[in-house]
Point group: C2
Chain length 139, copies 2
DNA sequence: CTAGGTGCAAAAGGTTTGCGGTTAA
DNA sequence: TTAACCGCAAACCTTTTGCACCTAG
């Protein structure tokens, strides 16, 4: 039987791919985003990991999150000019911002929707990424 | 024959609707966004209007742009955490960010696309706005 | 051993605000 | 006349950076 691929393994491998080292800080920050998939800000991640790594600094959290983005382990999510949030969902998906609570939800995209959006572009425009952000309220 | 509705008229009326005054600063800032529809930042607007209103301040430009947003004369456009840009196109449309030049283009939306995006939402999610941002390059 | 990573504090950018003087209505 | 507005400078908030020390490989 094959053993499951742990976040630890994934992290180590992706870091190595980029010629970067495995550190405790990176492990803990990655898990903070991965375990609670609630799109935390850097500040929120900082609050979560302070108990795990005594003395970790906010700057390190910012730098580490940036590292995880480079390694394609998390993605940045921005709404207006609010603090950047971090999302470990790597599938193509949209975000829904609940204007009542400030919470952000992942929204799967129906078949063909992304293709239709791409076809919507005029001649000569080639989109590498398409970002879809809903804002509204939940029942 | 009816005379055309000038930006001046529109501005005066929309300001009055909100109980706000017409001022030279507001007129000039509005025209700076309206005439060159290139999604300027506050800084860029500031650069444009300094020759029109001697002594206008950057803070006033920021405050004025915020006023125009409240009056529904322009909309804010954000890409990542770059400076907020201002768009006088009030029709529902998407934005294309050219990663080569940093320029932003308005993109009209095909019939039914917005409806499909709205239908894509799960039960209980009610979107007030849907934002579509393309990033890529132009031929 | 040593290139890369971390913590700290300071700096950088973008935007907002408090206040005294000015102005549209 | 007077509430709203403006210019200025200082404050604010998020994020980045320089540097001395530390550590994974």
């Amino acid at each position: 039987m094959t053993s499951p691929v742990t976040p630890h393994d994934t992290l180590t491998r992706k870091l190595a791919d980029e010629g970067m080292r495995f550190t405790r800080q990176r492990e803990v920050v990655y898990e903070a985003v991965l375990n609670q998939r609630d799109h935390p800000t850097a500040d929120e991640v900082y609050a979560r990991v302070r108990s795990d790594v005594a003395g970790i600094s906010l700057a390190t959290v910012y730098n580490t999150l940036e590292t995880l983005v480079q390694c394609n382990l998390v993605k940045q999510v921005n709404f207006e000019r609010e603090s950047t949030r971090y999302c470990p969902n790597l599938k193509e998906h949209a975000h829904f911002y609940d204007t009542q609570t400030g919470r952000i939800y992942d929204v799967d995209l129906n078949n063909g929707l992304v293709e239709q959006l791409r076809e919507n572009l005029p001649e000569g425009f080639e989109a590498a990424q398409i970002e879809i952000n809903y804002r509204g309220r939940t029942a």
